[in-house]
Amino acid sequence: MKLFPIRGGIHPDYHKELSGDCAIEAMPLPARLYIPVQQHIGAPAEILVTAGDVVKKGQLIARRQGQVSAHHHAPTSGTVTAVTEVPAPHPSGLPQSTIVIEPDGQEEWAVLAAPIDDPFAVAPDVIAERVAESGIVGMGGATFPSAVKLNLGIRYQIETLLINGAECEPYLTCDDRLMREHAEAIVDGARIMAHALGAPRIVIAIEENKPHAIAAITVAAEPFSQIETAVLPVKYPMGSERHLTLAITGQETPARKLTADLGVVVHNVATARAVHEAVRWGRPLIRRVITVSGEAIRTPKNVEVALGAPVSELIDFCGGFAQRPERIIQGGPMMGTPLPNLDVPVVKGMSGILALTAAEINDRPADPCIRCGACVNICACGLTPVELAAHIRHDNLEGAVKLGLLDCVSCGSCSWVCPSHIPLVHYFNYAKGALNAQDREQRKTERTKQLVEANAARQARIAAQRAANRKPKATTGEVQP
């Protein structure tokens, strides 16, 4: 298959050997599960249970609200002990509404939606509806509700469904293991999604450092002529949606547009498997495979774990710490975020838990920029990180936007390559957040102004009315005496 080059990119140490050969292990249920109502991009789900409720495995406990949102289900049977605020698996550690479930150990299934026997015979929206009912979100880390993406087939002419098995982040091997061990489920899920999208062609893209996964997927896809397996060169950030689309189709997604505008929709391999389970078995998304790795973990593993399990128990399951970790990361080391503590729960978008030592992170205080240009040359988006960071340092966010700040995908390559260890991506993340905050303030000011005007107009109207009411009285008053 002909591939197209992407600009820049880096070759970090992959460390995939730490967990790559460990078959997926299921972790026993922990004593408590914590299900946050927001594990996805969009509006938080509406809580349907209260403390004391008895729930069954797979039962809907939080309902999606709004266009972009996702259901959440009980990962096992048990009792809801509390609905409370619990620190989120988010760098800030701020609390969010969370349903706490105490498992009863029975693993008793709720009445599930009936399996769709022939998914290729039903209408596309039936598939999308099932995916929405199953609470499936993008499991590569983006956590965008998958049903919304499957509905793109309505508005766009989709030619290609791209299944992303690149897994270009160092350390992570969960997608690799899924492809090796559940290739048929992934292929089936991909075919179902292609049907939902109306896409005639499926490309499963895998980086060439995963030969077993490539072999397994090739075998599983063999019977289906619509599926192609693409072997990608190893390069970070190959797995970025837009760059993957470019590598496979040769088309560059225009800024501020979707890959769907080019007739391409990208889904992660884990999402494909979740869709397979939802459609073929009626099972909602209540567990996922996570890579637990890093030099500080005693026995790195790929673990299949119930959503809501505390990260601390996951680490204990992997033998605990072999040495003091410098940082605990969720996701990969390039785009992952630090965890505020180990009590936070496993959520749908969590592809990895990494306990990294200082030597692995290899960070050091920043030196002055020597303008070596490495960041410019490796940026896959064609940005000039050195200039952007200079603008942001001087609070010139607008200047940074003009240079393309909002086209940055925060892949982290520039920070990785910088010989002066300048936290470039941190500058960009800060600037993007600050711009959002400014936007919010701006909107609020606009709203306030409208309300003030409405209020003033009403006051004026009332005053006029009063004046009008008083006048007749006044005239009658004159006449009366």
Binding site: H243, E252, L262, G336, P368, G373
Partner: protein, 368 residues
Amino acid sequence: MSDVASILQSGPFAHSTNTVQRTMFLVLLALTPATLFNLYLFGWPSIFLFAVTIGSCVVLEGIALLLGGRPLMRTLTDGSAILTGWLLAMTLPPWAPWWIGMLGAVFAILLSKQAFGGLGQNLFNPAMVARVALLVSFPVVMTAWIAPHPLFTDGAPDITQSIAITFGGEMPDGVTAATALGYVKTELSRGIPVSQSLIEYGRGSNLTYTPDLMDLATGYKPGSLGETSAILILLGGLYLIRKRIITWHIPAMVLGTLFIIGTAFNLLDSSRFAPGLFHVFSGATFLGAFFIATDYVTSPVSIRGQIVFGIGIGLLTWVIRTFAGYPEGMAFAVLLMNSLTPIIDQYTRPRLFGRTSKGEPLPIKVQA
């Protein structure tokens, strides 16, 4: 556990092993073979001058850092001051007196680097600023080139004589010689065609070889430390490219431009214009192309910018060598292009992903 995540920092949580220090160290390493060979070629006086220049640079950098209240050891050990001094020493006449090296260090470190705010902030290449400032201030001393007097050979000054040369300023008679570029230029001004003076240069000098390109390349000729032995400099440069410290673009553009334009004009009129290969192998062309022009701080950051920058240097070097009063034009060319670096940077930014080169979102192709 709480202490682990208490410092709020965004990712990535992986970094390459490259550092500023490593970069500078590799550049020094790449310079070493050529330097050692040339120190051997020009003997003790050149070794003294080399030591004085680098030592002054490091001491002055330290003083400037102390005065500015900046971290002393960390910055001193980044190797940038050593590199500046090293490059400066390589462009000086090898038997120049000690104060030339020291004054050069003042120009380089204090006036053109620290005055701008230290590492990474300077607009002009410090070593070149120093060289040009010395050249225009002390033209006689700065053009007192000597023929090679290899260590431990007849005619080479011993240590006592060398101390007198470097620290006493006692230049022995009859050792100075013109560089190839200088000779050709002088002769041309007397009406002697380049083609003839090139042949005469070899005979007239106290070299026993015929003046072919091999002489210019191996460096057995008068000149500065970096001017001679183009081959070793080239090897060092290739090593840097291999180590990915520099890319091939700037050196290739400088050398290519110089060669093409030199050859073209030489074909037009060989009596007025020296051949392209002569330009490439004489003067400090290789040092300039691989080590001076590629200075990160003062060259453009994008590859496209570096190509423009390299072509500019090649062009200006040829123009200055051919038409201006100074025989060696590289230093001036580098400084002139340094001043254009910010504007080159501004006009050579890469195209953004998903946007046209003007910054507009790409049009959506109509699906077939």
